[in-house]
């Protein structure tokens, strides 16, 4: 068993060729391709919307808007900015934050109980394992961030607050919040880019 240690390589390098082919089919009007993307990406997109909005009916509306947008804007997908799932989740997050702002419901944020409905349906175990692996990887990376950096990133990601709003919420100087956002994101990017097991 020679060179066992030399064969490690970075995980998470999703083959974007398959993603692009799927989106090309969506661009051509193939709703079955959209369904494939839906099957793969909707649990995470729905989870993010539910976490942001707190209410299932709202999250369901956003889910519809998200996939309508994927259908209409498939040409705009940029593989340099992440996987198709990342793109879909980003759309879901943006639409959720829009809705949150439009209803002025920052105060209505409630802890959704995802455990009551947490399910992965009946996907292939290979995909489930890879998703769980990605989640564990991001969770581990977030744990390595200093708590004050993690807090500003969570407020930004899940509540859609601007840096000024975060500063007001936390009572910290705006410059401090800006530094924490940048340092937190840079560190997270570095941790996520590290080969598996390097930490």
């Amino acid at each position: 068993m020679r060179q066992m240690g030399n064969l490690r390589s970075s995980l998470g390098q999703e083959a974007s060729g398959a993603d692009r082919r799927l989106l090309e089919r969506v661009i051509e009007g193939d709703s079955a391709a959209l369904r494939t993307i839906y099957d793969r990406c909707s649990p995470r997109a729905f989870g993010v919307s539910l976490r942001i909005l707190g209410a299932r009916p709202d999250a369901e509306e956003v889910l519809q808007e998200t996939f309508l947008e994927v259908w209409k804007r498939a040409r705009e997908y940029n593989p340099n900015r992440g996987s198709v799932e990342g793109w879909v989740v980003t759309i879901a997050r943006s639409r959720s934050i829009d809705r949150l702002r439009s209803r002025g419901a920052a105060a209505q944020l409630s802890a959704a109980d995802p455990s009551s409905s947490m399910s992965m349906g009946t996907p292939a175990p290979l995909e489930v394992a890879e998703r769980r692996q990605n989640s564990e990887r991001v969770a581990a990376a977030l744990k390595e961030l200093p708590p004050e950096q993690r807090r500003v990133l969570e407020l930004a990601y899940f509540e859609g607050l601007s840096q000024s709003e975060i500063a007001t919420r936390l009572g910290d100087p705006l410059g401090t919040v800006k530094t924490r956002v940048r340092l937190g994101m840079e560190k997270l990017a570095g941790l996520l880019a590290e080969p598996e097991g390097a930490r």
Partner: protein
Amino acid sequence: MRCSEFKEGAWAYALGVLEPNERAELDRHLAEPIAHEGCRAELDRAFRTTAAMGEMAPAVQPPADAWGKIEARIAREGRANVLPMRRRSWVPFAAAFAAAAAFVFVLAKAWTYRNALIEKNEQLSRLSGVVAEREACRQELESMRQSSELQRAALALLELPETRLVPMTGRQPSRGNALLNIEQRKAMVLITALAPAVGKDYELWVIRKGSAPVAAGILKPGRDGKVIAEVKPELLQAGRPDIFAVTVEPPGGSPAPTTDPFLIGEVNPG
């Protein structure tokens, strides 16, 4: 604005925490026809990181009727900004139709001659063909049944909180995970993007430091390059393995590995 300032602001831009005026300033810089110092690449990196943050929220299965509602909205609202292919002129369409019709005519003629020639042979071979087909079907069904059972077992193992994921990496694009639940003495490997094994076999090994690798079975990838395999519980009786590895071996496997690992996953001691 200088490129270094843009790159500092790119993270907040991708995360969506800038005020509109700040965002506009970064947009203006990006649009400037200058030799940028990696501005776009940094912004892409920031977007990739933001996209990964979605993993902070748990995946939640949407309601069963959600897809139907999306389909209905697609049918109702359509999408005016896409599908230019649907508005083709009739001229190339007619030409394509004529070519297709000619092709079908030639094909039909050829088919008639072919049928006359092979009809007798077919009658002779039909009986043995049916037998072979039935056997192939039986094997296919058996393979599907086994695969389905393994999928269910893998999903059940994944749902156990104490099951650990051991990423297996090595020769791209193949990759996978070993699922290890040492409390229940269960382990499975899930591997994807394996090339067909022609004149060779993929063999799984369970390794403990200081001991010789123990053969854990031959992995037979399906036509989709995926394989799910269960590790025999007795191979886990001695406790937690340190490494799962896959090597390429002569057909039928080897008692000890003869090649470098193709894929390898180290079990974290923690």
